[in-house]
């Protein structure tokens, strides 16, 4: 007898449209509670974990990096719950299964954890970087583990130099929906855009660990978070009326991830968007649907948003759902009301965009564009109360007026600060509820 967590779906929107308007915007807040009834007597849900650690030659420079990586992997192994199936992969221009040596995954217990840590201790740096090959091996290892929380941690310190971008893209397409992967870049010689492409495709997070000393704590946290997931393979299912089109579907909190292109069509009117695994947590999505205009006084269902558990081999299970409506009115008071949630996340998505564009312009020497974009970012971060991002911006620009976004580019900025801002540009603040 399997129990499913409760998913609460709340919709925030201004459903009133003026005559002729066709765009319906809604913020969908999804909150998942824990599983109320354990499925098999053990604590928590069945899980599989693969730890992928970069062992390319550059990991020896500086000397401490490989040592820190080994300690971080050991900490992740220690954080595994008893019974979780796991493996450790050493990544170079090839992928090598470090533990268990006989292949496949092995259940975590006192003995296997000790054996894994012993194998990790023997890891040495040497060779190139081919992230796609590492992910391919992880994908094969996860294959027998359906109906399970499948999670990977990927650590790298460099660019994907030993395979083509096309090969990596093909691997990401292959791994889509097969497991969730959180990516970490250590040092400053890796590509933010490249690693973000991996984490986005695999519905995980990406972050920079500038100082190798921070790896151990971060790995433990990531593993704890993965162990707290209760349900895998949840999709956001969007029904739209005949003749309507989906303009976009984005995850907007805790970070901005555009899911529009990830649609798996169930029919002309129904599409599924992947959301990965869920523990006790809350996420916000921004759904934008273009509907056919209707007459004043008409009411239309513009979108039915369901969170659906798939991949169990049986029937899909609807965990929760909400409705986005459109009501046409000639009452301007109603149609011009601004929904605070929609406005906030529209701003947060723009914030992520202008930071990335601003940093790109700065890199290519277009300083006017860089100043304008990063100034806009400062204004947006200030207005929305996104203090974390505002703080990161202040390391890249001197701020004369945070409200209007009047800034000057700093003459000297460290790579760490630029990469940290870039990596975390997609992190959003949530709406501050009015009292």
């Amino acid at each position: 007898m399997s129990a499913h967590p409760n998913f609460r779906v709340d919709i925030y929107q201004n459903e009133y449209l003026h005559q002729g308007a066709t765009e319906v915007n809604a913020i969908v807040t999804v909150t998942s509670g824990g599983v109320t009834e354990s499925s098999g007597g053990g604590s928590g849900s069945a899980a599989a974990e693969v730890i992928i650690v970069d062992c390319s030659g550059s990991m020896d420079y500086p000397r401490g990096k490989m040592i820190a990586a080994r300690q971080a992997c050991a900490a992740a192994v220690d954080a595994l719950r008893d019974g979780v199936a796991f493996a450790v992969i050493a990544g170079t221009d090839q992928a090598r299964l470090v533990y268990p040596q006989q292949g496949g995954l092995v259940a975590a217990d006192v003995r296997t954890r000790a054996a894994a840590k012993s194998a990790i201790n023997g890891l040495k740096a040497g060779g190139g970087t081919a992230i796609g090959r590492w992910l391919n091996l992880a994908n094969q290892l996860f294959l027998p583990y359906q109906n399970t929380i499948r999670h990977a941690i990927l650590l790298t310190d460099g660019r994907n130099e030993h395979e083509s971008p096309a090969a990596l893209a093909a691997t990401l397409a292959e791994c889509d929906g097969k497991f969730v992967c959180d990516c970490r870049g250590v040092g400053t010689d890796w590509e933010v855009e490249e690693l973000r492409r991996v984490s986005t495709a695999l519905l995980g997070t990406v972050d920079i660990i500038a100082d190798p000393a921070g790896l151990e704590e971060d790995f433990r946290k990531m593993t704890d978070a993965a162990m707290s997931k209760a349900v895998a393979d949840v999709v956001l299912r969007l029904w739209t009326p005949q003749g309507a089109s989906v303009k976009f579907v984005k995850l907007v909190a805790p970070e901005v991830v555009d899911l529009t292109g990830r649609r798996m069509a169930k029919s002309a009117q129904v599409g599924d968007y992947p959301t990965g695994s869920w523990g006790e947590e809350s996420r916000d999505y921004h759904v934008c649907v273009e509907v056919k205009p209707a007459g004043v006084g008409d009411v239309m269902l513009a979108g039915r948003i369901s969170l659906v558990l798939t991949g169990t081999g049986g029937e899909d299970v609807i965990l929760g759902q909400g409705l986005a409506k459109a009501t046409w009115t000639d009452d301007m008071v109603l149609s011009t009301r601004i929904n605070p949630e929609v406005a906030h996340y529209t701003g947060q998505a723009e914030l992520a965009g202008v930071i990335q564009e601003g940093l790109e312009a700065r890199k290519s020497g277009d300083l006017d564009t860089a100043t304008a974009k990063l100034g806009r970012a400062v204004a947006l971060a200030t207005k929305s109360g996104n203090t974390d991002t505002a703080e990161l911006l202040s390391k890249v620009v001197d701020i004369d007026d945070p409200v209007t976004g009047t800034v000057r580019l700093k003459a000297k900025v460290s790579d760490v600060d630029t990469m940290t801002l870039d990596t975390r540009s997609t992190k959003t603040s949530r709406v501050r509820k009015s009292s």
Binding site: G243, G297, M300, L301, K325, D330
Partner: protein, 349 residues
């Protein structure tokens, strides 16, 4: 569509609730205890009409549990979109109109008879939800139902009906205030107008801009609007700052200066009793009607003499007239023939 919640009863016609045989003069049903001398009807709770022929917009076969077509997404008609009540002694029609997406007007009717079967009292309440407030449709229904019940008890108990009308407004205000959610910025709000016909007297009470009219059947007698709007336009006219034409041409004309709601401040109901000298009808309505037909004389011309004998037909025709002229707002029309008579129900021969 006649509201199914109508409890249509009367002496010697069998109990409407349990079907048991009743005798003329019975006050209560011997079998189930139902009050046989009372007819109670009004705006029903929210819900969607069954759609035997599929979606009203595209003909699609499947309507989901939320009342939307699973093909084109259109909301199917709600039961409140059009409410028709045709009782002995009073009739009412409430319609969504053409421009609003739902019907935020509500009406509540109560009719009592004496043991001989003669009508004793008619209570009619109309409330118009303020569309910029939260849940205006719930507000109007709660107010109308609460007030009608207070007026019914008072009429049966022989209480002074002007005092009872003030109590009814207080009960309606309490019912609307109780709907206020955690966010009180747009607390639910509505207007109020009631008329109680008991014996020769017609007692009218109001807050806001819903109206009651006396329409005289006799060409020589005067028809008049009994109520005076609590509106910006009325205030401008009364203070002599604008003429009636100027005031009603202003976009602020309909702004209410009094209403029922948590944010209404001190509510002072207006109460008036009239004693007509000849036959006619009491017309109780929302501004969806009088926007198009403000004058008592033009309403009389449109409704009489038919309204005296066929109040339901008259209410339906006045509603249709307002919709033909634009239907810009919800329209609610209640017609009470005066003096009270129970020979008016149009479905009876």
């Amino acid at each position: 569509m006649t509201d199914e919640s109508v409890v249509d009863s009367g002496p010697a016609s069998g109990c409407p609730d349990c079907g048991a045989e009743t005798l003329a003069g019975d006050r209560f049903c011997e079998n189930c205890g139902n009050d046989l001398l009372l007819v109670s009807a009004g705006t029903p709770d929210t819900g969607t009409m069954p759609a035997p022929r599929g979606c009203v917009a595209c003909g699609g076969p499947d309507i989901d549990q939320d009342g939307f077509c699973m093909q084109c997404g259109f909301a199917q008609p709600a039961v409140r979109d059009r409410v028709e009540l045709d009782l002995a002694g009073v009739a009412g029609v409430s319609d969504k109109g053409l421009r609003h997406h739902r019907n935020e007007d509500a009406m509540a009717l109560r009719v009592t008879a004496d043991p001989s079967g003669e009508l004793a009292h008619v209570v009619a309440v109309v409330c118009d939800g303020v569309s910029t407030s939260d849940r205006p449709d719930d507000a109007s229904k709660a107010a109308a139902d609460a007030a009608a019940d207070v007026l019914l008890v008072a009429a049966r108990g022989g209480t002074d009906l002007e005092d009872a009308t003030k109590d009814a407004v207080a009960a309606a205000l309490a019912a609307v205030t109780a709907l206020t959610g955690p966010d009180a910025r747009n607390s639910p709000a509505c207007t109020y107008v009631s008329a109680v016909v008991a014996g020769d007297d017609v007692t009218v009470g109001w807050v806001g801009d819903s109206r009651a009219y006396w329409l005289a059947a006799d060409d020589q007698a005067d028809s008049s609007c009994v109520t005076v709007d609590d509106s910006w336009a009325q205030r401008m006219v009364e203070s002599g700052q604008l003429t009636e034409d100027q005031a009603f041409a202003d976009p602020r004309s309909h702004a209410l200066v009094a209403w029922l709601g948590a944010d209404a401040g001190v509510v002072t109901p207006h109460v008036r009793t009239i004693r007509p000298t000849g036959p006619g009808v009491v017309l109780v309505c929302s501004d969806g009607l009088w926007n198009y037909l403000p004058g008592a004389e033009e309403l009389t011309e449109a409704a009489l003499p038919k309204a005296v004998d066929a109040p339901f037909v008259a209410a339906a025709e006045l509603t249709a007239l307002a919709i033909d002229r634009g239907g810009h707002d919800n329209v609610t029309v209640v017609v009470v023939p005066y003096p009270l008579t129970n020979s008016t129900r149009s479905t009876e021969s």
